[in-house]
Symmetry: C2
Subunit: 304 residues, 2 copies
């Protein structure tokens, strides 16, 4: 099975601090890197992690707050400096477009590659991108500005050939593609061999959901049922629960509730407020509800 | 004498690297912090250095390249988050204005403080700001886009009172201000005591010149004659001298030549290209021409 990896580049919130950096993550599958959010300084952290920029073809921006977007102009300028020619796709709320256009005009008017902007309707739960191996769904969130999360769902692969059965029935190599795709096999005498006898089911498809920034939103759980890894923002702990009301953020307990309701396999919490002095306390609060929880940090790499 | 300090926050160049951060410096005098350039991530480095943001009233931007400006929107948003109400003055080439306006509209439309943009004519050597204690002069540079450096020159202070002479001539306290300002003293019998007998000269005024980004520009030397500290860009070393032709940057030797011609007291070199593997080599090249040279780094604090 191809590795599906998540790299956390930044898991702080808007107010800068020493421990954490603004939001950014990279989902990696089959040599492609999908970036989610791009806070200030993301390009430096990419370089430090040795992730490079060439493999990034699509960047998904959750909302137009500076701590999720202000690294974008610099990243694009650097891609240009490094001689990029491949298209770059930005999927973001429409509110970001003018800023992006003016930034490119101001700082890198002579790009040798196209930057294609795809406006994301943050009110809809729908596929906003897909290729042969993955689908990306928008997840409507509730924040102070239009905002959505993203669900990365690997496409179901092909069925696995049972080599011994192929040999037994003398099926020619030219037919393997059809068999993998689920077709039955008809013998020269007309006997039909059902596909289930020739193959085993495809590897289960894996999924990752990114939910930041948002208030506690129980309806999220339906959209991400059975997700393998849920990243859910935890800007505050129980002690600061009141802050979530007017900032439209979540507590560790609320993130854990979503993980429970969604039957998630794992939960990673982040987007920590600068006022949080002890993240272990947040972890403690989340684990009391959903034990399989970990804290995000800027060096974290999770194999999904 | 009040301390006049320089803090280097970033001394890398456009291509991000692990060792260095994009350009930013802070000049500190009498509790005021003047920021020069504001590359991506500057706000984080300010926080790490414990310099704070409240004392920053004026930001001087040399030119509209991302590695000198892209930290500005985030810095202003954070000032807002922290409850700033004081005006903020941005002195920058006109080319930056649209980007700044759109950034503020997009990311912090409800600022509780005024951001005042002052367009700097990068072709002129003139005073662009002054208050009671300092003058800031523009220094026309030659780069790929309109660009200027900045000369910070402390204003000459008042003369120092010779206490024993004041007592000797029985001069009343009410007259001390006039004496400090250079006035003579007339005795009741009409005898005039010249000011030189009552005072010693004011402390010498100190100066700092920031010259980045630029090709080798000998005419700079006249404008910064006798400067106490010169920061001059050294993007490349001798081995990469050809690169300076089309990138409009300088080598370590060229920076040192300017320091010699300007009769500078000290030289600090920075704005290192990512291709420089050994900065000591640049230091070596500069010192061969101007011995009192140091290498910039992100933790550097220089008392001028």
């Amino acid at each position: 099975m191809e590795p599906l990896d998540l790299y956390i580049l930044g898991c702080g919130s808007a107010n800068p601090m020493q421990r954490h950096q603004p939001a950014s993550q990279v989902v990696s599958l089959r040599g492609k890197h999908f970036m989610i959010d791009c806070g200030e300084g993301t390009q430096t952290r990419l370089a430090r992690r040795g992730l490079g920029m060439k493999r990034i073809g699509h960047i998904f921006i959750s909302h137009t707050h500076g701590d999720h977007t202000l690294g974008l102009p610099g990243l694009i300028c650097t891609m240009s400096l490094l001689g990029r020619t491949a298209q770059l796709h930005i999927h973001a709320p429409q509110e970001l477009k003018t800023f992006l256009d003016i930034s490119l005009q101001t700082f890198c008017p002579d790009l040798d590659f196209e930057v294609l902007f795809h406006s994301v309707d943050t009110t809809q739960h729908q596929i906003i991108f897909e290729d042969r191996s993955i689908e990306v769904w928008s997840l409507p969130l509730r924040h102070r500005v239009p905002c959505c999360g993203f669900l990365f769902r690997e496409k179901t692969g092909q069925r696995h050939i049972r080599r011994e059965m192929i040999d037994f029935y003398g099926i020619p190599t030219s037919q393997i593609c059809n068999i993998k795709a689920g077709k039955d096999w008809t013998m020269p005498d007309g006997t039909v061999i059902p596909n289930e006898r020739l193959t085993t089911p495809p590897s289960p498809s894996r999924s990752f959901a990114y939910c930041s920034d948002t208030t506690y939103l129980p309806r999220l759980a339906e959209m991400i049922q059975g997700v393998d890894l849920l990243f859910h923002e935890t800007t505050f702990g129980k002690a600061d629960e009141l802050q979530t009301k007017w900032t439209y953020h979540s507590t560790a307990e609320q993130a854990a509730q979503i993980a429970v309701q969604a039957n998630a396999k794992r939960l990673c919490i982040g987007h920590f407020s600068a006022r949080i002095k002890d993240e272990e306390q947040l972890l403690h609060e989340a684990k009391a509800i959903f034990p399989n929880t970990i804290l995000a940090n800027e060096g974290l790499h999770i194999s999904i």
